[in-house]
Structure formats: C-alpha cells, structure tokens
C-alpha cells in the first residue's frame, strides 16, 4: 500500500503491486478511507465534471469584487482564435483555460480546489485542452487525476500545499507538480518519468512567493495559473524525453519544505510584501479595522 509519505515508496510499492500507478493510488486511498473502488471512481469522475462545468461557466464580462481581475481569459481566447499566435494553438488554449479558471474562482464561481482555490486553474488548463487537441477518454482523464492527487498527497505530507505556510510554490508549484505527472500518464510514460516530471516542475518554481495584492486571490494569482500550467507541460515533456531530475524527487520536496519555512512572513499570503507592497499594491491594501 502507498503510504503517501515518499515518492520513492510510491514507485516501489507500485512496482511490487504490478499495477499502474493511478490504480495503486486509487486502491491505497480506498483502503485508508474504507470506501469502495466504485465510490472513489464516481467521486473522481464528478471532480472532472465540475472542472468542465466551471470552465463553461466563464463569462468574459465578469469582474471580481475588487475589479482587479476578469476578462483576460476572453482576451486570450480571442487572440488564439485570430490564429497567428506566438505559442501555437495548443499552448494558447492552455493559457486561456488557466486564465478562465483563475478568473472564475476570483468571481465566486464553483470550482475544484486543486490543491487550493488559488491554484485551481492549473490542472484543468492542461487536461481539458489535452482532450480537445490530442483526444483522451474520460477514463484516461480520471486516471490522470488519480496520478495528480497521488503526487499531491506526498507533496502535502512532505512539504506543503498552503501559501500561508510555504508561499506560492506550495500552491501554484504544487499544482504544477501534480499536473506534470498527470500529463506523463496521458502520454503513456512510466512511473519514473512521472516522478521526474513532478520533481522538475517543483524545482522550476522553487521559492515562488505568495504576495497577493490586497490579500485577495486575484493579483498575481490568476496569471500564475498560466505559468503553473506551462511549467507542468515543460516538465512533463522533459521527463518524456528521458531527462531526469538530478536531485532525487523526495529530496526536491524536502528542499521545497525548507525553502517554504525560510520565506519571511511578509511573503506568505499576508499581503504585506512583494507585489502587495508596491505603490500599486498598497492602493488595495486592506484597511485595518
């Protein structure tokens, strides 16, 4: 059974069990929770369905309560539609999806925290365009969500998935590190490649601070979902090319934990440092009651 305390143990146990990693994650969690495989699968399928519904609930005219965000998903989709983009159709679709979901969250729409509300755009932004551009069954996407959640569990155990605890690397960084192995799964990669993709995604966003303007989940959170999605794609592609993380994955997560603890208080979701403390950011600073 997977203990979700180490990526190494997750890979070893999966090899011994002789099952695909997604299925081993599913069965290990069922055993821990005392629920059936069918119950778990129904719940995970529902998560995918809510992601699809949330993406469809987007309206480019919506604005957040502060007025700081809204409409950028529409701009990106329109730019992609026009054709002559820098990043090509697939990546443009990914970027538009990340912006849409981040803005949906800021505008109080119903989303799936993955692993947090602020980082809810990363996973759907790679999975839903993947289905549109490369074709993937619902079954395969649900399996990819198990892979993502399995790696997410280990990150939560070993490092953190909370911006207040570990900075944005723990939110957008964790989301990217969950999405990267999910993409490797969809492309038919090995568990080792998934582990490397996870590690590389974390490394590339290591130290990212949580500095929300006005203390709100808006600026820079929405756009950081874009970089999280792009990080996941690049880490997955590197892993699929056979590129490995030089630092072993579990040691990368330990570094993530250590870096998170070393971040000053002002850069851990307090809205008191970084972008929040710029002259622009201070205009939105909360008034002390």
């Amino acid at each position: 059974m997977i203990e979700f305390t180490s990526i190494g143990q997750m890979l070893r146990d999966t090899e011994q069990a002789g099952r695909p990693l997604w299925e081993n994650v599913l069965l290990s969690d069922c055993e821990r929770q005392g629920i059936s495989r069918e119950e778990s699968l129904a719940r995970m399928t529902a998560m995918l369905e809510v992601m699809v519904q949330a993406d469809q609930s987007y309206h480019p005219g919506d604005r957040s309560a502060s007025g700081l965000v809204g409409g950028d998903g529409g701009k990106m989709a329109a730019y992609a539609q026009a054709g002559d983009t820098l990043c090509g159709p697939f990546l443009s679709d990914v970027m538009a999806g990340a912006l849409r979901m981040g803005e949906c969250n800021a505008c109080m729409k119903r989303i799936v925290a993955a692993p947090t509300a602020g980082a809810c755009g990363v996973l759907p932004a790679v999975l839903l365009p993947y289905r549109r551009h490369f074709g993937a069954s619902e079954e395969a996407l649900v399996q990819a969500l198990y892979v993502a959640a399995g790696f997410g569990m280990v990150i939560a155990e070993r490092a953190s998935i909370s911006g207040a605890e570990g900075g944005c690397q723990a939110e957008i960084g964790s989301a990217a590190a969950m999405a990267a192995p999910a993409l490797v799964h969809l492309q038919g990669g090995t568990p080792e490649q998934m582990a490397n993709a996870c590690a590389m995604a974390v490394k590339n966003l290591l130290g990212l601070v949580c500095d929300p303007v006005g203390g709100l989940v808006e600026v820079p959170c929405v756009k950081r979902n874009v970089i999280g999605a792009m990080d996941a794609l690049s880490a997955a592609q590197m892993a699929l090319a056979g590129i490995e993380s030089r630092v072993p994955p579990d040691q990368v997560l330990d570094a993530m934990a250590e870096v998170g603890q070393s971040l000053p208080h002002t850069l851990r979701e307090t809205g008191k440092g970084g972008l929040a403390a710029t002259p622009f950011g201070l205009e939105y600073a909360p008034k002390e009651p």
Binding site: V25, C104, M108, R110, A149, A156
Partner: protein
C-alpha cells in the same frame, strides 16, 4: 487527509479560508442554533474584517446561516436569498483577543425564540474551529460527531452525561467543560468517534441540570 482533500473540495471561490470556511462557520452556527435563524448580527475580526469584502466572506457567512453548502452556486447571491427567507442581518467589526485572524462572532435569533452566540475561526483549507459558545470558551472543529451541552454547574453533571453516552456504546474522543462562574452555567463539548443518534441527545437533555443539548453531525458537504 485523503485524495479528495487534495483534489477538492468543490467550492465557490475565491478562498478556502475566507469563503468556503466562512460558509461552514455559518452552517455550524445554524446547526448549533437548531432553528431557522431570523436575525443575525455578525462581527468580523482581523483579516475577515479587512479583506472579507474582496473574498465574499459576508455572502459566504450568510449563505451558511441559510444552510447552503460551500459548493452551492447560490453563495454569491445569499443576500437576496436571505431576504426571501426572512433572515435579517447586520455586519460590524470587532477586535477579539487571542484568536485566529480569520474569525467572526455571530449572534443569532431563531424562529422559535432561541438565541445563540458563536465565535469561530477559519484557519485555512476550509477547516473551521468554534472557539466560543454563549460567552464561554471552547474549541471544536465539527470534524467529529459533536454534542454541545449547556448545563447548570452542579456536581455530577459530567458523569451523568458521559454515562448516558457510554450506555449507548459511544466512545468519547474529547471532552471539554467550561463554566461562566461558580454555580453558574457551563458548556460541555463532547466529540465522539461514532455518530450520535438523536435518542442519545434526547436522553442527555432529559437529565437533571441540563439546559440545552445540540447535536452536530459532520456532513458530506462536497462531492
């Protein structure tokens, strides 16, 4: 922690602590009141007061008082819903000592004349903690089946209550007792490992010296 703590919960944005947690606090307060709330005074503390507006915390708290779940799409429109259901509410701010920055004090009146004051915090990830009930300090999360017992402070109350639970095979996970003053009223909070059946709560309520009993059952709020 399980897979659906990582992929999930399904919630209305933007913040698990300031929005989803706020809905759960409202639901908890409603559940503890045990009646349809008709009047509510909500005093926001710390970050709830300073950033609540941008996070939809106000709408989230009212949504919870109306019994909506954190993933209900009607959360942003809870003020209109409150009007329809006849719940009047006011918001203010307050400064509480030694509590988490994401905290609120809620004073409720129910349709059957019941009154309740609840203080609760939302420290993150949608989790909540009740730190005060009717002016008395306490601490519970609602993650376990919970019994909140208001009693007059007299000898033997605790053993009678725990005895009643034991006879029904309920295992007490935690027990806290806080009283206002010597001989005054007290609040007992008992978290159990097993679901507390309604009959057990009724039996406790009929014991001598017991003023009020509230049963809280953790619910599957999200998918």
């Amino acid at each position: 922690m399980n897979l659906f703590d990582i992929l999930g919960p399904v919630m209305v944005g933007p913040s698990s602590s300031h929005t989803a947690g706020a809905v759960r606090i409202g639901r908890m307060a409603r559940s503890l009141l045990g009646q349809e709330p008709v009047r509510a005074e909500l005093l926001l503390h710390g970050s709830f007061a300073s950033t609540g507006e941008g996070h939809g915390t106000h709408q989230a708290l009212i949504a919870g008082l109306l019994g909506l779940a954190p993933d209900d799409s009607r959360v942003p429109n809870s003020f209109e819903l409150a009007k329809e259901r006849g719940l009047e509410f006011t918001f203010g701010s307050c400064v509480l000592r030694e509590v988490h920055p994401n905290s609120v004090l809620i004073r409720l009146e129910g349709d059957q004349g019941g009154k309740l004051e609840v203080g609760a915090s939302s420290p993150g990830g949608g989790r909540i903690r009740v730190f005060r009930v009717d002016g008395l300090d306490t601490s519970f999360s609602g993650d376990l089946p919970t019994l909140v017992v208001h009693n007059t402070y007299q000898p033997g109350c605790v053993s009678q209550v725990t005895g009643a639970l034991a006879r029904r095979g309920l295992n007490v996970a935690t027990l806290q007792l806080n009283r206002g003053g010597r001989g005054g009223s007290a609040v007992m909070v008992i978290e159990c490992d097993q679901p507390i059946p309604p009959e057990a709560a009724r039996e406790v309520r009929d014991l001598p010296g017991i003023l009020r009993v509230t049963r809280y059952t953790p619910e599957e709020e999200h998918l």
